[in-house]
């Protein structure tokens, strides 16, 4: 009788495990990312997909190519194809709201990664870099490195992305306290390296006496640095970035770029995948927004960091 009870218990445990596994396998998670034309977003999407896969879910990455209409197609495709959750890196803070609401109406939770949508209740949760606070730290270091005086330029990212303005506002919340620091140019370069190089070339022609440039991401910092090399000003104009890309981490070590704000895409991507898993298990009380801290990387502490994160 006792052996029989043990066998029944064992059978129930095995059935339970098989059902749990089958349950996860039957659920698919879509990872919809703004672009795969930037290593930062490739890392974000692949990490989210890998984490969801490791939790037992079938995953697929959709590339929106910075096009909100294409993102809409991906949402329609994901809803029609039976995806049960979406891990989203939106193309546009306002334009993407309608897509998130469409998924919500279909009963599909959406977890935003890194970029936010301008709606308090559309996404189940938004896991975002604390760009404002990170830029406050970059701004403080900028003031110290410039000894509170000098002319500088700013390269902005995509005007439709909240991160662009959070970074700019955080930076200016510090730098604008110092009247000796004068911004002589503020131009958009769409987070793009080539565009940043072109914009920086024209800024240098109009303002050859600038001493620093603050860039809203590392791709633009690298583009700005290329323009400085062409103009024979590398090393004379301090370059500040934001992201923590591999080339910039190396450039800080080499003394070419002054500093960057290190974001942690791995933390955001994994948290989003874990939240989706918890949602399937019944959790509903997610924080609407959860910020992920950004750390200042300079020549003093760069050895603690690697691309998109920290050394273990």
């Amino acid at each position: 009788m006792r052996r029989f009870q043990v066998l029944i218990l064992l059978f129930l445990v095995l059935v339970g495990c098989r059902n749990q596994s089958a349950n996860n396998q039957s659920k698919k998670i879509a990872v919809i990312v703004s672009t795969l034309n930037n290593p930062w977003f490739v890392f974000l999407a692949q990490t989210a997909a890998a984490k969801a896969h490791s939790l037992g879910y079938e995953t697929r990455i959709f590339d929106s190519q910075n096009n909100t209409a294409l993102e809409t197609d991906h949402f329609e495709n994901a809803i029609a194809s039976g995806y049960k959750a979406i891990l989203l890196n939106p193309t546009d803070a306002n334009g993407s709201v309608v897509n998130v609401n469409r998924a919500k109406a279909a009963g599909i939770p959406v977890f935003c990664m890194d970029r936010e949508v301008n709606s308090a209740n559309a996404a189940t949760s938004q896991i975002l870099s604390d760009s404002y606070s990170g830029s406050v730290d970059v701004g403080k270091y900028f003031v110290q490195a410039m000894h509170k005086k000098g002319k500088y330029a700013e390269l902005l990212g995509l005007v439709s992305d909240n991160n662009t303005w959070n970074r700019s506002k955080g930076f200016h919340s510090v730098v604008d306290y110092y009247p000796g620091l004068k911004m002589v140019a503020q131009q958009g370069a769409e987070f793009d390296e080539n565009k940043a190089m072109e914009v920086m070339e024209s800024i240098l022609q109009a303002h050859p006496d600038i001493e620093a440039v603050f860039c809203g991401n590392d791709a633009m910092a690298l583009g700005a640095y290329q323009a400085l090399i062409s103009a024979g000003k590398a090393g004379k104009v301090k370059v500040f970035g934001f992201d923590g890309a591999a080339d910039v981490v190396q450039s800080i070590k080499d003394g070419k770029i002054a500093a960057t704000g290190m974001q942690f895409p791995q933390v955001m991507a994994q948290t989003a995948a874990i939240y989706a898993d918890e949602y399937f298990k019944g959790k509903r009380d997610f924080p609407r927004k959860i910020p992920v801290s950004v750390e200042l990387v300079t020549q003093k502490n760069v050895t603690n960091y690697i691309a998109f994160g920290k050394k273990n």
Partner: protein
């Protein structure tokens, strides 16, 4: 009914309806309403003047903090640090007594009662979230708008810069003994106990 009286009644009714249908408000007040009615200045004042002093006894003594970070960093972070963000940046609410050993444009350098000399009070760069986050009194889910949280930090720092520091900077000199209460930022991944900067909430020169 007299025609004049009839028209008169209609006219009065029309004026009453028209008067109650149209409201005039200042454009500034409407803009403020649209932007959200959170008053960061009032919140920051209340936070610094009432909320923080009420829990000042919860602050860890600076010598106890530095000894803890040296001997049992993880336990010290788990027990005493707070943060709104996910990640390695954490904040401690601290208090203590110390002697001023040096003063420069950005900081006042201290030798604590416990003989730690790697401590300084920030007097120039009062930025960031240390004071906002170190108490654990402010919760992210209480604010639907991220900019409100950013504004609490900005306004809190502004009050410290404009109202708390000037008198201290004017009076403090090398050799003075002081009492302080404030906040410290520290990375849990790489705690740097050789360069500890305190953002002050209150400062008293004892003698």
């Amino acid at each position: 009914m007299n025609k004049k009286l009839k028209y008169g009644i209609w006219l009065v009714l029309l004026v009453i309806v028209a008067y109650n249908s149209v409201y005039f408000k200042k454009l500034d007040s409407m803009k403020a309403l649209k932007a959200g009615n959170f008053d960061a200045v009032a919140y920051a004042n209340n936070y610094l003047r009432k909320m923080l002093p009420a829990i000042s006894n919860n602050a860890i003594n600076i010598d106890q903090l530095l000894n803890g970070l040296k001997l049992a960093p993880q336990k010290t972070f788990d027990t005493y640090s707070k943060a709104l963000d996910i990640g390695s940046i954490r904040f401690f609410l601290v208090r203590g007594k110390a002697k001023i050993i040096n003063i420069d444009d950005s900081d006042v350098y201290l030798l604590t009662d416990g003989s730690h000399s790697s401590i300084k009070i920030a007097t120039e760069y009062i930025f960031g979230n240390a004071v906002r986050d170190a108490s654990g009194l402010i919760h992210i889910n209480d604010f639907s708008n991220t900019s409100d949280l950013n504004n609490i930090s900005a306004e809190t720092n502004k009050i410290i810069r404009q109202q708390i520091l000037p008198s201290f900077k004017a009076q403090a000199k090398k050799g003075d003994d002081i009492e302080f209460f404030g906040a410290v930022e520290m990375k849990s991944s790489h705690p740097d106990i050789d360069d500890v900067e305190i953002i002050p909430v209150s400062l008293n020169i004892i003698h």
